[in-house]
Symmetry: C2
Subunit: 272 residues, 2 copies
């Protein structure tokens, strides 16, 4: 079902229970949860709260980080949590260069090997993995997977029901190959995140995302192509921004509802 989802990082100051309550009162039918927020209340309590809420768990953020020495064990824990929470996908943010390294090829190969190692465990637990390309400005320190095409190369060796890609407008909007890659992603899109590009970037470049409609991205245009490629799941609003975090959460939810209207309007009525 194509519907709106709150990725809870958008309201990063709220606990999981508070974010769940706000989704319910605002009529947002789905939520993307972060493992740190789940840990705050404990996995079993988080599971109980989410089940009782009736919300769709559109994603768990996040696994990946294949440059870390303990990546395998940590990713297995993330898969266990995603399984317990009944999430549609575990988002993989694949990690940057190891400290001091300039070997991008080796780092990218390590991501491929890491995914391959995880897949059997994810299949066993019934969790779908979603490889998220991150904007190239995060290549050194957050993800050596920088384009949707590259993410598709990584996931295509595996069955699409077990391994897909995550399309986030902030990360992919600039890509001259985006249209071709979205066509190629048919059946592979495990999650769709919307957020907007605003300038200037803040120091660190991490917390500069805009709410849908605030920036330069043709969100509705990209959404039309995502839906046209067969994606019919939740549309998650994922905004990391101190200004948004400092704002009244109810005002943020309202802005998010308004800003995502033109995006959801692009869903093919036949699909919905």
């Amino acid at each position: 079902m194509i519907c709106l989802s709150l990725n809870q990082v958008t309201l990063n100051r709220l606990s999981l229970p508070a974010a769940v309550d706000l989704c319910r009162s605002a009529g947002v039918p789905a939520i993307g949860v972060w493992r740190e927020k789940v840990a705050e209340v404990g996995l079993s309590e988080a599971t109980r709260i989410l089940e009782a809420s009736g919300l769709i768990v559109s994603s768990v953020c996040r696994g990946g980080q294949f440059h870390e020495p303990d990546a395998v064990a940590e990713n297995r824990r993330a898969i266990d949590e995603a399984a317990a929470l009944g999430a549609r996908v575990l988002v993989l943010v694949c990690g940057g260069l190891p400290p001091g390294s300039r070997d991008l090829g080796a780092a990218r190969a390590r991501v491929g090997a890491g995914i391959e190692e995880l897949v059997p465990y994810a299949v066993d637990k019934g969790v779908r993995l979603g490889v998220e390309p991150l904007h190239p400005m995060y290549c050194a320190d957050r993800s050596v997977v920088s384009t949707l095409s590259q993410a598709l190369d990584l996931v295509e060796p595996f069955p699409s029901e077990h391994v897909g890609v995550v399309v986030d407008t902030y990360h992919v909007w600039w890509d001259p190959m985006l249209d071709e890659s979205l066509e190629r992603a048919r059946g592979r899109i495990a999650a769709f995140h919307i957020d907007d590009w605003i300038v200037p970037l803040p120091a660190g470049a991490l917390l500069g995302r805009g709410l849908p409609g605030e920036g330069s991205i043709d969100l509705a245009g990209i959404a039309a192509k995502v839906f046209s490629a067969g994606y019919d799941g939740p549309v998650e609003v994922e905004v990391m921004n101190e200004r948004v975090w400092d704002a009244d959460p109810i005002a943020t939810i309202e802005a998010m509802l308004r800003g995502s209207e033109p995006v959801l309007a692009r869903a093919d009525p036949v699909v919905v």
Copy 2:
């Protein structure tokens, strides 16, 4: 001739005459000049100083900015200046989205039309144009040309002696298609800029470049592929960084000489 060049923005606090003097005393045989610095002394005086110096003028920065209403007239002035200065190339930074626009396709089409309009004038003046893809983090506000492949698509309709591409390590290092694009760029590389990627990015993301060797980019590895694609011109160090600007210029030149050694070492001796 493969040799080191100082892009004068690396010593942005110096005037053109001071930068020229420093190149000569440090044994740097080439300089990339900025139009603002040329304007400070006047074009004819700049031309006289550069001719007297014996330095190669590896580039003029810059033309482009096709989103500006007066782009054609301004680019013609830039071509005139590059011709007067005897520069190897006029670097084109193609401009971002017009204010308020989200139409990336239209902005990219405008760049193509803008280049097409400029070429006859550049041919007439004997100036080679160099289209520089900028890092995707500048897509909204500085350049909708974000990859080398895209730049090659733009220049390939024109003769390579008149229109080429500018490869800058800071802008292209992350690109999973870089190797293929560099092979495709054979005969088209009009300039090669080196600088390094360091994190975290500063606010605005513009002045965070590192001197060669300070960051995450495999400069020598990329240089080997650039030389292997037939490029045999100056290697310009172009670093925009407040910290570097605040440092002693002689120390910066020395760091630049040290940091570029492994890059210049990758020049095929047969080519040199």
